[in-house]
C-alpha cells in the first residue's frame, strides 16, 4: 500500500493532494483507533485521532505493512547519505539507528512559503535516497505544505489552523522564502493577513523553526538591493524560538532531512555556528574539499569560460569562484545523488549562496581573498639566495658614493698642497724673522747667530 502511494507521489507528485498526504499519514492512527470515516475537511476526526495516541515511526511502519528489512534499508541509506557529525548516524550500526528512529514519534511538520521560488521544495522532491515518499510518509508527518496539497482558499486556511491546533508546541515549522516587512508587510498577503503576521502566529506555537534556503535565512534574492519589499529572514521577525538556518539556493535537502531526524530522535538541535547554521553541514568552506583543489594548489586556473583550462576542469578561482569563503558541504554532498552535479562540478564558479555577505552582494566574477592560505604543490629550492642587488639600489649607492667622492676631491682642491703649504709656512716664518730683525737688532741677533752657527 505504501509502495503504491510512493509510486503515485513520485511519478505524479504535482497532483498529490493534501488529502492524500494527510490520509496516508493518518493511516496507522486510524487503524489503531478503528476510525474509518471522516469528513471532507477532516478536522474533528483527525484532531481526535492524533491527540489520542501518536504512533512511533516503528508502529507506523508496521501498521503500513512496511517490512523490517525495508526499514533497515532506509536506515542504512540514511547512515550513508546523512552528513557527518550527526549524533544519530554516528551510532555504530544500522540496528542502533533503526532502534533510535523506530521509537521516535513522527514529527509534525508545517511548511510555509513566503517570497520564494519554491526551489527549496523542488530540491527536496528530487531526493531519491531516501525519497520524498519515505520522508513525508514514513519519517515525518508533513501536515501542511502549500505545494504538495490540492486544497486552496478556506480549506487550506482551515488545514493550517487544525495542523497548528493538533500539535501545538510540538510541531516543527519550516519556512521557505523571505518575509516582506516594509510598509507593514503589505507586499505579501495570505488569507488577508500580511506574511509577517502569519509567520509570527505559526512560529509562536512551534517547537522549533527551520529556515530553509537563503531567503528564509536572511532575505536571499528578494533582499538584494534595493530590496523594495524590505525582505528579511525568519530570525528578524520571530524571536523566542530556536531557529536553525539552512541557507543555500537551494540548500541540499539532506541537510534538512538530517536536521529533522537529529532533532526528533535525539531531542535537541545540532551544534550551530554564529549564523545558526548547523555545523555538520556548514562548518567548512567549499574550497577545503573541492574536487578541483589540486588545480588550485598547482596554480592551474581557468582564465575564461570555454578556454583550455575551463575545458580541462581546472580551478575556477579566477572566474570569481567564492568557494574559499563559502561555508557549505556542496563539495562533498552533491545534488540529486548524481556525482559531480553541483555548480563547480559542472564548471560554474560558486556564487556563495550560503553566505549573507557574498551572494548578491559581491560581484559575480570578483575574486575573493584566501583567508587560510595553504602551501601550493611547488617547492622552494634549497638555497634561495639572499635576494639579488637591484639596479635601482646599485645606482643609488653609486650616486651617493660618487657625490661624496666628488665633494671630497673638490674640497681638497681648495686646500694648498703639502709642498705649497710648506713653502708658504717657510715664507711666513722668514717674513716674521725679518720683521723681528728689523724692529730690534739685539733681539733678533740670537736666532740669526744661531742660524749661522
Amino acid at each position: 500500500m505504501r509502495r503504491t502511494h510512493a509510486l503515485i507521489l513520485l511519478t505524479n507528485w504535482r497532483r498529490a493532494t493534501l488529502g492524500f498526504v494527510l490520509s496516508s499519514s493518518r493511516l496507522p492512527t486510524q487503524v489503531h483507533e478503528g476510525i474509518s470515516d471522516y469528513d471532507s475537511r477532516g478536522n474533528a476526526v483527525r484532531r481526535k485521532a492524533l491527540m489520542s495516541k501518536q504512533p512511533t515511526i516503528a508502529e507506523h511502519l508496521k501498521a503500513s505493512g512496511v517490512s523490517r528489512r525495508s526499514f533497515l534499508q532506509l536506515c542504512s541509506v540514511l547512515m550513508a547519505t546523512a552528513p557527518l557529525g550527526l549524533a544519530l548516524t554516528s551510532k555504530g550500526s544500522v540496528q542502533l539507528v533503526a532502534q533510535a528512529i523506530g521509537k521516535t514519534k513522527r514529527p509534525s511538520v508545517i511548511w510555509l512559503h513566503f517570497q520564494d521560488c519554491t526551489g527549496c521544495t523542488e530540491t527536496l522532491l528530487r531526493t531519491s535516497a531516501p525519497d520524498v515518499a519515505h520522508l513525508i510518509l514514513d519519517v515525518i508527518s508533513l501536515d501542511y505544505h502549500e505545494t504538495l496539497m490540492a486544497a486552496s482558499g478556506a480549506q487550506a486556511e482551515a488545514a493550517l489552523r487544525s495542523a497548528i491546533a493538533d500539535n501545538a508546541g510540538k510541531y516543527v515549522l519550516v519556512v521557505e522564502g523571505a518575509i516582506p516587512t516594509r510598509d507593514d508587510g503589505v507586499y505579501m498577503q495570505m488569507g488577508g493577513r500580511p506574511a509577517v503576521q502569519v509567520v509570527r502566529e505559526v512560529a509562536a506555537q512551534a517547537a522549533a523553526v527551520i529556515a530553509i534556503g537563503s531567503c528564509a535565512s536572511w532575505g536571499g534574492v528578494p533582499s538584494a538591493d534595493p530590496n523594495p519589499t524590505g525582505a528579511v529572514g525568519v530570525d528578524s521577525v520571530v524571536s523566542g524560538k530556536p531557529i536553525v538556518n539552512l541557507p543555500g539556493c537551494p540548500p541540499n535537502p539532506y541537510n534538512l532531512l538530517a536536521l529533522v531526524l537529529e532533532y526528533v530522535t535525539m531531542g535537541r538541535l545540532p551544534e550551530m555556528d554564529e549564523f545558526s547554521r548547523p555545523k555538520f553541514a556548514y562548518e567548512r568552506v567549499i574550497h577545503e574539499n573541492c574536487p578541483r583543489r589540486a588545480h588550485f594548489d598547482a596554480g592551474r586556473y581557468a582564465a575564461a569560460f570555454g578556454d583550455e583550462g575551463h575545458r580541462k576542469g581546472w580551478c575556477l578561482y579566477k572566474l570569481g569562484c567564492k568557494g574559499p569563503i563559502t561555508h557549505a558541504a556542496c563539495s562533498t554532498r552533491h545534488f540529486n545523488e548524481i556525482p559531480g552535479v553541483w555548480p563547480i562540478g559542472i564548471g560554474a564558479p560558486c556564487v556563495g549562496c550560503t553566505e549573507k555577505g557574498v551572494v548578491w552582494r559581491m560581484g559575480t566574477f570578483e575574486t575573493v581573498p584566501i583567508h587560510l592560505a595553504t602551501p601550493p604543490d611547488t617547492y622552494p629550492p634549497i638555497y634561495s639566495g639572499a635576494g639579488g642587488i637591484k639596479v635601482g639600489a646599485a645606482a643609488l649607492v653609486g650616486a651617493v658614493a660618487g657625490a661624496v667622492g666628488g665633494a671630497t676631491w673638490v674640497a681638497s682642491q681648495r686646500f694648498p698642497s703639502s709642498a705649497e703649504a710648506g713653502v708658504a709656512r717657510v715664507a711666513v716664518d722668514r717674513a716674521h724673522a725679518e720683521k723681528l730683525k728689523a724692529s730690534s737688532g739685539k733681539q733678533t741677533d740670537k736666532p740669526t747667530d744661531k742660524k749661522e752657527d
Binding site: P369, P375, I382, H432
Partner: protein, 310 residues
C-alpha cells in the same frame, strides 16, 4: 719617496716577525679541542627522515597554526608559499632536485636546537638562550636589542629578523615549547602522514635513527645521523639519502661554531704574545714618525732661524 734597501729589509722584518709568530701560535691550535658539550638532562628534539618525507607540507601549515602566525602569502597572495625561513615561517619544506636526474629529496628546515648554539653565543644580552633542562633554544623579546647577531652567527641561517614592523621580533622554531607545557607535541609532528618527522627525547631519537640505518644498509647517506656530532651535536637529527650539504646542512665538523671561535680567540691572546707584538709594531711606527718630524723641524730652523714651537 725613495726607499732604501735598508729601509725595505727593516720594514719586512718588522712586519714579518709578528706574522710569523702568529702563524706559529695559530698552528698549534689547529688541532680542535674536543670539549665534551653536555647534553641537557631532558633534551628533546626532532628526527626528520628525508627518505620518507613526501613533501606534503602539512607540517608547514600545522606550524603556522600552532604558533598562531598568519600564513606567508607574500608570494602570490593565494598560497602559503614562502621561499625560505622568514619572519612568518619557522618551518619549511624545500626540494633538492639535481639537474642530472639523480634522486631528489625533500628537506624540512627548522631550528636545529644545537647543543652549543651559536646564536646564543653571539647574542650580547642572552635574548637567545638554551633551556638547561629541555635544551630548547628560545628567544625572549625583553632581552633583545635587535642587533641581529644571531641571524649572522647561526651556521644554519635559522633565526630570522622581522624587517618590517615597529617592534620587530626574531623568529625561529622553539619546538612549540608552549605546546609541550600543555603536554602536546610540536605542531609539525602531529600532522606528518608518513612519520617523517617525529618528536621525542634526543637519546631515543638517536637510537631510532641508528636502528633505521642498521635495518636498511646502504639506504642512508654515509650511514650516519646528521646532528649526532655535527656542530657539536644538535637536538634535531636528520637522515637522508643524498649528501647533507645538498640539503642545506653544511659539513661543520664535530666542533661547534662557538667552540671554534673560542679556541681561536684563546690562541690569539695566549701568553699575550700577539698584543705585545702589536705594541712593538706600533712603537716602531710612532718612533719613525717622530724621527721624521724632528728632521723637518731641524730643516726649518736652519732655513728660517726660528725654533719649532712643537
Amino acid at each position: 719617496m725613495d726607499i732604501t734597501r735598508r729601509e725595505l729589509i727593516s720594514t719586512i722584518a718588522k712586519a714579518g716577525v709578528p706574522a710569523a709568530v702568529a702563524v706559529t701560535v695559530g698552528a698549534g691550535s689547529l688541532q680542535a679541542e674536543t670539549e665534551n658539550i653536555p647534553v641537557p638532562s631532558a633534551a628533546v628534539g626532532l628526527l626528520y627522515d628525508a627518505s620518507i618525507c613526501i613533501g606534503c607540507k602539512a607540517c608547514e601549515s600545522a606550524c603556522a597554526e600552532a604558533n598562531d602566525t598568519p600564513p606567508d602569502t607574500r608570494g602570490d597572495a593565494l598560497h602559503q608559499a614562502p621561499t625560505d625561513l622568514n619572519d612568518l615561517t619557522r618551518n619549511i619544506i624545500k626540494l633538492y632536485k639535481p639537474e642530472d636526474g639523480s634522486p631528489a629529496s625533500f628537506v624540512k628546515r627548522q631550528c636545529m636546537h644545537c647543543l652549543d648554539p651559536a646564536c646564543a653565543a653571539g647574542c650580547p644580552f642572552q635574548a637567545l638562550h638554551k633551556d638547561p633542562e629541555t635544551g630548547i633554544v628560545s628567544w625572549t623579546a625583553a632581552e633583545c636589542i635587535g642587533c641581529r647577531y644571531c641571524t649572522i652567527t647561526c651556521p644554519f641561517h635559522v633565526p630570522r629578523f622581522q624587517w618590517k614592523g615597529f617592534n620587530p621580533r626574531v623568529t625561529k622554531c622553539e619546538l612549540c615549547s608552549h605546546r609541550l607545557e600543555k603536554g602536546l607535541k610540536p605542531g609539525c609532528t602531529t600532522v606528518c602522514p608518513t612519520g617523517a618527522v617525529i618528536f621525542g627525547p634526543r637519546t631515543v631519537l638517536l637510537s631510532e635513527a641508528k636502528r633505521r640505518i642498521k635495518n636498511s644498509p646502504g639506504r642512508y647517506y654515509q650511514e650516519r645521523v646528521y646532528g649526532e656530532t655535527d656542530n657539536g651535536g644538535t637536538q634535531c637529527l636528520y637522515l637522508a639519502r643524498v649528501p647533507f650539504d645538498k640539503l642545506g646542512l653544511p659539513e661543520l665538523g664535530p666542533e661547534s661554531v662557538p667552540a671554534r671561535t673560542l679556541r681561536w680567540q684563546r690562541r690569539l691572546y695566549q701568553y699575550f704574545a700577539l698584543p705585545a707584538l702589536l705594541y712593538v709594531g706600533l712603537v716602531q711606527v710612532i718612533r719613525k714618525s717622530l724621527k721624521g718630524h724632528e728632521h723637518e723641524a731641524h730643516e726649518r730652523e736652519k732655513e728660517t732661524g726660528l725654533r719649532a714651537q712643537l
